[in-house]
Amino acid sequence: MSDLIEGYLGKRADGTKSRMPALLDRWQSITGLILGLFIIGHMFFTSSILLGKEAMYKETKLFEGSLFLEKPEPALVSIAAALIFLVFIVHAGLAMRKFPYKYREYKMLKTHAAHMGHTDTILWMLQAGTGFAMFFLGSAHLWTMVAIPDKIGPYASADRIYSEHYGVLYALLIAAVVIHAMVGLYRLSVKWGIAVGPRPRAGRRRNKKMMWGAILFFSLMAYAALATYWQIGREHRGSYGERYTPSAMQNRGDVL
């Protein structure tokens, strides 16, 4: 009954305004925060290849539960990826409310942003654009992680990037996700007035500098990691499909 009333009148049964807009705004921010923090961690983890194959291998096994399971279980990665995929879908659905839907809205926004030259407005356009791109790029990546979680590792990931041509997808995804996530985290701070300190204007300037720094840092790190995977994949192309064996196991003649 109350659903019927709210659906038609936008009000609750007691005559007060629906609380749903507040809830949607809050959850858009909460899911954005979860994804933003996840992305920071994710980029550090995938960039472990910069420390060497051994480091990346150990970390992969850690995420497969090597600390508490006798045998690492890639299904754990599947479950984690599925959860992130769910948060991703909810966030995308909520954020879509803010997109310019009609040509007139888009035209107005584009003209305004281009002529005014206001950085935050242009950044939001980039955020909307990268968000739209991630509907496809992010979904493809996340589904890969859900479907084939066992194909993560120094050689498996490198093979995927070089021999299976995922490199292009990841090159585009890195640009989209770094911009979207870092601008999003900055915007969260000013939107809710959190982490801006007692002088909000100064806090905003500081957070914006941190945002630019983070965009630069994570872009460099992620593209360096991607180039490393690509190089490993190229060198390994003759043995495509072979899995990495850590040095300790090689000595024992043991292969995982």
Partner: protein, 251 residues
């Protein structure tokens, strides 16, 4: 047709300024929107107010624009100056080293003619929507002295009451341009002003009834162009975030 007559009388030593100004009268079926070009000589300390009067005086008596106070107080001369919404009376031509200035009317408001827009209709709608008056249950007895207000609370109210309704925050806001029913920073600032005012007895739930939706506080995308262009330097970023936190927690 573009007008390019150059004033060279007693200001011949000033640099030449080129103005491109939108000319359009929406009430005249013959009128077609176009940019007219005017060239004038710059005078010392020249503002857009001075330049526009010079153009109207010497080049185009048909040019329409609004000014009242010439001192950034009345808020009637808001316009888009090289894409940015500014008060023309406080904008100096010296701020444009290339000497090229393009003037457009503020979007989001109904155009009267050329650079003249009606901000009043929009502001009136906004004022009624946020019920921009003190709400008090008790009947006011005007023969009695007002109850004192704590200086801090009075300051907080007066700080937000400095808004001159120039419309610049609305014209700067991409959300307001895309969504004409969006209440804008001026409306959200007004809500924050009454929330701070000890005379107003409304609570958060009451304010939620006014702006607790996607055309209100939850529609704001925090692009903060309002904050960056406000000619009165109102703390819009801080107050919008504050009201968002308050209204998001209303049960």
């Amino acid at each position: 047709m573009p007008k390019t007559k150059i004033i060279t009388s007693d200001q011949s030593e000033g640099r030449e300024l080129t103005f491109e100004i939108l000319k359009y009268n929406p009430t005249d079926p013959e009128s077609k929107p176009h940019l007219a070009t005017y060239k004038i000589r710059e005078t010392p300390g020249m503002t857009l107010f001075v330049a526009l009067n010079m153009i109207r005086e010497d080049l185009d008596p048909d040019l329409a624009f609004d000014f009242v106070c010439r001192a950034g107080i009345c808020g009637s001369c808001g316009m888009m100056v090289n894409g940015k919404p500014l008060l023309a009376c406080r904008t100096r031509t010296a701020d444009y080293p290339e000497g090229k200035i393009r003037l457009m009317p503020m979007p989001a408001f109904e155009l009267i003619k050329d650079l003249s827009v009606i901000t009043g209709q929009w502001m009136d709608r906004m004022s009624r929507r946020v019920e921009s008056w003190v709400h008090k249950q008790e009947e006011r007895n005007y023969s009695r002295i007002e109850a004192p207000v704590e200086p801090d609370r009075a300051d907080a109210t007066f700080e937000l009451d400095r808004c001159i309704e120039c419309g610049i925050c609305v014209a700067a806001c991409a959300t307001a341009l895309m969504r004409p029913d969006f209440v804008g920073a001026v409306g959200l600032n007004r809500i924050a002003r009454f929330e701070a005012d000890p005379h107003d007895e409304r609570n958060d739930a009451d304010f939620y009834e006014l702006v607790g939706d996607d055309a209100g506080i939850f529609g704001c995308m925090s692009l903060l162009s309002c904050e960056d262009h406000c000619p009165k330097n109102l703390p819009l970023q801080e107050k919008i975030a504050y009201m968002r936190r308050k209204l998001a927690s209303v049960k």
